[in-house]
Amino acid sequence: MTSAVEARGVGKVFGSGTDSVEALSDIDLSFSPGDFVSLIGPSGCGKSTLLRLIADLAQPSRGELIVNGKSPRQARLDRDYGMVFQAATLLDWRTVRKNVELPLEIMDFDAAARTARAEEMLALVQLERFADHFPWQLSGGMQQRVAIARALAFSPAILLMDEPFGALDEMTRELMQQEVLRIWEETAITVVFVTHSIPEAVFLSTRVLVMSPRPGTISEELVVDLPRRRDEDTREDPRYFKLVTEVREALRRREREHR
């Protein structure tokens, strides 16, 4: 089985000469299709940079990246991934429905297919009633759900999420996590999720990659052996607490070594 994302010796350097900053160094990883992988680490550890390399929004300085069995560039051109940013980045002159249809327009879906897909995606994120609203009429959490619907509209194999719930309040955040898990179960999509929230990483993921800064490397990898189906009870499961503690300790260990 080909892996969804694979990296071999990937490094990224910003700038050149004495001003250069090594953002990522010696990244080796392999995600299987259907994995829910979280990248977690302090700010500046290069977790967003790694996501951007996978998305072909930036190019690695060293090493090789394979996304869905091809180069990141080819994967982008083949529309193999959908992207969700920290800000919803909805186009404010388009209704919710038209925002979800945006990628479909670019990808030359015909009008009937666009309408059908948009309906389906808005049902998936439970926003059918708001199809004809404009983004500014929606709460932050709802806007982010539209962004998720938009990213999934063209059925990509991989969903890349860059701190998607970072700007949301705790309550909304937990609801959104439930939502993402439900979608992940229903679509069997591979998710790469960047976060700096330890409970969020553990609650959502099948695997957690702990990253450390200067230069950004993957310092530890934890397999989350919670049942695949998770709900509010999971948050009170002793195994969940144990894993949260393990991730926290992994992050602390790294921090101590850097001091």
Binding site: A55, F85, A87, T89, L91, W93
Partner: protein, 267 residues
């Protein structure tokens, strides 16, 4: 708007009355030559412009229509050129660096210097006179549109551009689906400035073109007769102002149909 107009008329007449009674002459002398009575201006508008001719208001409204037509054509030409330059500059920073200084320089040359040249060049290539005047109006129109189009096309967040990139969108799809819609509020702000400027361009352009029947010729003629009949110049100025208001109003009308309410800049 009407209330303000009445207020201006009342203040005007009150100023005249008080300053005349007190014998004040500063800052503006209140005599009928410097400040004609509002009703004298109204009478001038109603009186025939020439013996047994139609009233002045009718003549000037027709003149305004001619001038507005020149201004409108110039506005369309200048708007298209300005939009084109904005798109060119956002696509190519080389083009921006190469052309922008000249675009800016073009606006520092006074229109009274450019206008005769355009008229002479237009004459050489047998351009109709009114179209030469339109070119002068276009000269004043393209600059604000170019600058604001460029700014508007650059207004989307970097993440929006990256979103389009993640869809493997072509540059022209990104332009038409993201950048141009994002630029519309900016462009309409420029178009309102340009609408007013194009009327000025047309009025000034009519003078070296020697074009009869437009507002330019009449404004020049009335300003020469100002000491004898100041109310006529005031009357013509009022009509010219109305022409500008009508044009800007038209642009605003279109804006309200094109740009969503939440994105409109209030002007």
């Amino acid at each position: 708007m009407l209330a303000l107009l009445i207020l201006v008329l009342v203040v005007w007449e009150a100023y005249k009355a008080i300053w005349t009674a007190q014998g004040w002459e500063w800052p503006i002398r209140p005599d009928n030559r410097t400040m004609p009575h509002t009703w004298d201006v109204a009478v001038a508008l109603a009186e025939p412009a020439q013996r047994n001719g139609p009233p002045l208001v009718w003549v000037e409204l027709q003149a305004a229509l001619l001038t507005l037509r020149e201004a409108f054509v110039g506005f369309l030409i200048g708007g298209a050129i300005g939009f084109g330059l904005g798109v060119l500059f956002v696509r190519s920073s080389t083009a921006e660096r190469a052309f922008m200084p000249y675009v800016v320089a073009s606006q520092t040359v006074p229109i009274i210097a450019i206008a005769p040249m355009v008229v002479v060049w237009g004459g050489r290539v047998n351009l109709p006179q009114w179209l030469s005047v339109s070119m002068i109006a276009a000269y004043l129109t393209f600059f604000p549109v170019a600058i604001n189009t460029l700014r508007g096309l650059r207004s989307p967040e970097p993440t929006s551009i990256e979103l389009m990139r993640s869809y493997a969108s072509t540059p022209s799809e990104t332009l038409w689906k993201l950048q141009v819609p994002a630029a519309l509020p900016f462009i309409f702000t420029a178009l309102k400035v340009s609408a007013a400027a194009s009327v000025i361009g047309a009025i000034v352009g009519e003078l070296p073109a020697g074009l009869r029947g437009g507002l330019g010729r009449d404004l020049l003629q009335f300003s020469q007769q100002f000491t004898a009949a100041p109310q006529k110049l005031f009357a013509a100025v009022i009509i010219a102002g109305l022409a500008g208001i009508a044009f800007v109003g038209l642009v605003t009308f279109v804006e309200h149909r094109v740009v969503a309410p939440a994105r409109r800049q209030t002007t």
